[in-house]
């Protein structure tokens, strides 16, 4: 493998890194070299050991064995402070910002206490000028989009003048256009000789940005490559270890009656920084997969709660299932009308993490009376139902009836999708169905959704993952600031169209005239 940065000096070198948690080895003798001025991708599925390795590099975890060298000198990174002092900066996937403070105040928090707010503002403007990092110092954070929030985190990181910047899944919350802006900032940083360690599972992006990639699988380095010489498919194969199967989805134009319809649904947010739903209307027909794209925090959770009945709509007629007005009915009655739901958060919402799988069957299936006898629980029925789902959905686990939290993300999600799909519901609503799920399980889940829709069910998928929606959705709409755009046939829209809608372009162009 040849990379353009091969001749450059090695900035950070991790040698023989081992990290064990009890009997589980998260990192197994990992070697990683990052050169000055390179964008280095760290690839791998969930559970491959990426986060553990990065936490070690940032001083959050101590390796069981192995050493880290900085410019050839061994260093001990025992805390994030030590890592920052050594020139390693980190931009986390989840932001740690104070919603009610301004941009400048949030940045000042990580600077020495004697720094004046005005000088912070000046430094922010300097960053904007140098790296195209657009930030308004005096805006309160709660008014900002995810992209702008991420820029605050990047600014915080840059003010420490790092030599290596680690970014963990940075584009998962960005529109395609925001991601482009991020890439140009990162390229400017690289030209200055700073190194970038880029963690992602979006292989397209990795091919655009990075000239070297290290692939982890099962805690070991399985390959290093130059992403520009590889295809997305070949890198995915390295990550998964096998070749992925294509989905079987015939193009489909369902023209049956709407099984799930939403008519003028408006719902004020319950908390200060939540999103209010504004006059949402759409209809999902039997036989189709309907996708709702959008960046996180634009009302997806609120929409899901209103559809599931976890929050009641204002009027009964706001939501219909198979023509029945259910807007004022709770989730169990909606289940009895044939609807099923899979929320985003697996542990804690869709499942109780400390409960066994068969107990988790009860969670949604008690409503339809299959696992209860009057007010008492039919534990045997729940167990046999769990076993059926585990078999037919190929859920891998240890033990007979383990607690939900002991399953990997992909296996738990297969179980939870299986719990709903095995009922053959007439309407299935899912929020981020393959978020944080390994590629093989994700492909499996998507196939099940397509199969269910082809049996006549209306399947609604709310997802941030555009690739996913382009793969499985027959029609698509976009949610932005609690509004849902008009639905369009997937094969008639481009990524750019969707990206603009995700950024709220439609509304702005309307207001401009």
């Amino acid at each position: 493998m040849n990379s353009p940065t091969d001749g450059k000096p090695v900035l950070v070198s991790m040698r023989g890194i081992v990290k064990r948690f009890g009997v589980f080895t998260a990192n197994d003798h990992i070697d990683l070299d990052i050169r000055a001025g390179e964008a280095h991708a760290l690839l791998g599925e969930n559970g491959a050991g990426k986060s553990t390795l990065v936490k070690i590099l940032y001083g959050l975890l101590e390796p069981t064995s192995g050493r880290i060298e900085l410019n050839g000198v061994p260093v001990s990174l025992e805390s994030p402070e030590a890592a920052r002092a050594a020139g390693i900066g980190m931009v986390f996937q989840h932001f740690s910002l104070f919603e009610n403070l301004t941009v400048a105040e949030n940045i000042a928090l990580v600077l020495p206490a004697d720094e004046k707010l005005e000088s912070v503002a000046a430094r922010i403007e300097d960053l904007t000028a140098r790296y195209g990092l657009k930030l308004e110092p005096y805006r309160p954070v709660w008014t900002l989009s995810a992209g702008e929030r991420q820029r605050i985190e990047i600014a915080r990181c840059l003010l420490q003048d790092p030599k290596l910047i680690v970014l963990d899944e940075p584009t998962s919350v960005l529109t395609p256009q925001e991601a482009d802006a991020l890439f140009s900032t990162l390229n400017l940083l690289r030209v200055e000789g700073r190194a970038i360690l880029y963690i992602s599972h979006k292989l397209d992006e990795v091919r655009r940005l990075c000239e070297r990639a290290t692939v982890l699988r099962g805690g070991k380095v399985v390959a290093t490559c130059n992403p520009r010489e590889e295809s997305v498919r070949s890198m995915a194969a390295m990550m998964v270890g096998t070749h992925l199967v294509d989905l079987r989805a015939k193009p489909n134009e369902a023209d049956g009656p709407a099984r799930l319809s939403v008519d003028g649904l408006s719902l004020a947010s319950e908390d200060l920084h939540g999103v209010s739903l504004k006059d949402i209307s759409f209809a999902v027909r039997g036989g189709e997969v309907f996708g709702i794209a959008g960046i996180a925090g634009n009302g997806q959770d609120e929409l899901f709660a209103a559809l599931s009945g976890e929050r009641l709509a204002r009027r009964a007629g706001d939501v219909h299932i198979d023509g029945i007005s259910v807007g004022r009915e709770g989730i169990n009655l909606r289940r009895q009308y044939g609807a099923a739901f899979v929320p985003e958060e697996r542990n804690g919402h869709a499942a109780a993490p400390d409960f066994s799988l068969s107990e988790n069957i009860l969670l949604s299936r008690h409503a339809t009376g299959e696992v209860t006898r009057g007010l008492s629980i039919d534990a045997a029925a729940a167990k046999s139902l769990a076993r059926q789902i585990i078999e037919s959905f190929d859920v891998r686990m240890s033990g007979d009836d383990p607690a939900a939290r002991t399953l990997s993300g992909g296996n738990l999600q297969k179980f939870l999708v299986g719990r709903e799909v095995s009922r053959t519901p007439c309407v299935l609503v899912l929020n981020q169905p393959t978020w944080g799920v390994d590629a093989a399980a994700a492909a499996d889940i998507r196939q099940r959704l397509i199969d269910l829709s082809r049996q006549g069910a209306a399947v609604l998928v709310i997802s941030q993952d555009l690739d996913e929606l382009f793969e499985i959705a027959d029609r698509m709409a976009v949610i932005h600031h609690g509004e849902v755009s008009a639905a369009r046939l997937t094969r008639e829209v481009t990524r750019e169209d969707i990206g603009l809608l995700m950024a709220g372009e439609r509304k702005e162009s309307l207001h401009a005239h």
């Binding site: 009890g22 025992e78 030590a82 989730i331 919402h349 499942a351 409960f355 008690h366 409503a367 209860t372």
Partner: protein, 360 residues
């Protein structure tokens, strides 16, 4: 040096079982150290606390008598605590139950009883249970409707209950022929719980305690309601997804725990005491919190834990007499026990790691 808690990947059932026993052992060691610090012999105290009560039949009956209210209250509290709702006011619900139930006995005292008066005791039990239940609905209502912390409201209501009892016993319910002592007339036999054994100690209250253990055990293991209680405590969002209403559940578990405490209260006045007094509880409602946790919120565990706590109460009384150890020592010991139980709970779930900072 820094201390980290690392979540254990698997919980060993052996440790789960041993944890409460280890907690008791740790509490005994700490208690012994405290006793020797105030110049008492820990060996003698250990004997007085934990061996003597088993030495005669009277003490054994006393053990069961003191354990009954603890077990009954703690079985009710287990519903609240499993649901992550903190009813700290069982003591108040106990007192109100005793006051309202006892009032019936006082009011009917000396009357010509219709139906031979056999309705009086059941009426007292039902009234006391309902009173405890309604009294517990106050913190439940305040939590559901205005979001007030049930910990504070239920605790504050304890003092109101105690003062209310005190007020009536010194006022309208005082025995007119009682030489102005603040106590009611002694209840008639028809208004008292029957005794189960020789010696006039062990009364029928223990049957309610055992029934509560059976019932709670059945509800937790077999019913959707028991599942719901555990689910709300463990994963509230998942409970909402399962279609359970948090508000309704809050009312239900407070009602159950209040009813249990109220019933225990009326059993105490109709069984053990036989009249109303300004103070009818040596802190049963608070000790029951320890019982609930020492029993790991499992009904059968609560049964054992109730006996352990009862032992400390009886031992504390004997130690006061035999060794002049202040009675407060019993409270201190019970508090130590609770701390040890909670600490053990943490260690069954997490591994403690000390990280020595390498010199940078």
């Amino acid at each position: 040096m820094r201390i980290e808690l690392e979540r254990r990947t698997a919980q060993s059932p052996v440790i789960e079982f041993l944890a409460p026993l280890l907690a008791i052992a740790a509490a005994v060691l700490i208690g012994g150290a405290l006793l020797s610090a105030i110049g008492k012999s820990p060996e003698q105290a250990f004997f007085v606390y934990f061996v003597e009560p088993f030495s005669d039949a009277w003490s054994l009956q006393e053990l069961a008598v003191k354990a009954s209210p603890l077990i009954l209250i703690a079985s009710g509290l287990a519903f609240c605590y499993r649901a992550n709702l903190w009813n700290i006011g069982a003591e108040g619900q106990f007192v109100i139950g005793g006051l309202v139930g006892g009032t019936i006995a006082v009011v009917t005292y000396g009357m010509d009883h219709a139906l031979g008066g056999y309705w009086i005791l059941p009426a007292m039990l039902i009234a006391g249970t309902l009173a405890g239940m309604l009294y517990a609905m106050i913190p439940a209502f305040l939590r559901v409707k205005v979001g007030a912390s049930e910990i504070l409201t239920s605790l504050m209501l304890v003092y109101i209950a105690e003062i209310t009892l005190d007020y009536f016993v010194r006022g309208r319910l005082r025995d007119p022929k009682g030489f102005n002592f603040p106590q009611s007339v002694p209840f008639e036999d028809i208004a008292r719980l029957p005794f189960l054994a020789e010696g006039e100690r062990l009364h029928a209250g223990i049957l309610f305690a055992l029934a509560a253990v059976f019932l709670a055990s059945f509800i937790f293991r077999r019913t959707l309601f028991g599942f719901d209680v555990k689910l709300v405590g463990s994963a509230p969002k998942a409970a909402r997804f399962a279609g359970f209403s948090e508000g309704r559940l809050t009312f239900a578990v407070f009602a159950i725990s209040g009813a249990a405490a109220g019933l225990a209260g009326v059993c105490e006045v109709a069984g053990q005491i036989g009249q109303l007094q300004p103070v009818i509880s040596p802190g049963y409602g608070f000790s029951a919190i320890i019982v609930a946790f020492l029993g790991r919120l499992q009904p059968w565990g609560i049964l054992c834990a109730g006996l352990v706590l009862s032992l400390t109460i009886i031992g504390g009384e004997s130690a006061q007499i035999a060794m002049k150890v202040p009675l407060d020592m019993t409270r201190v010991f019970q508090g130590t026990l609770l701390m040890c139980v909670l600490a053990m709970d943490v260690f069954t779930r997490y591994r403690l790691r000390l990280i020595w900072r390498r010199s940078a």
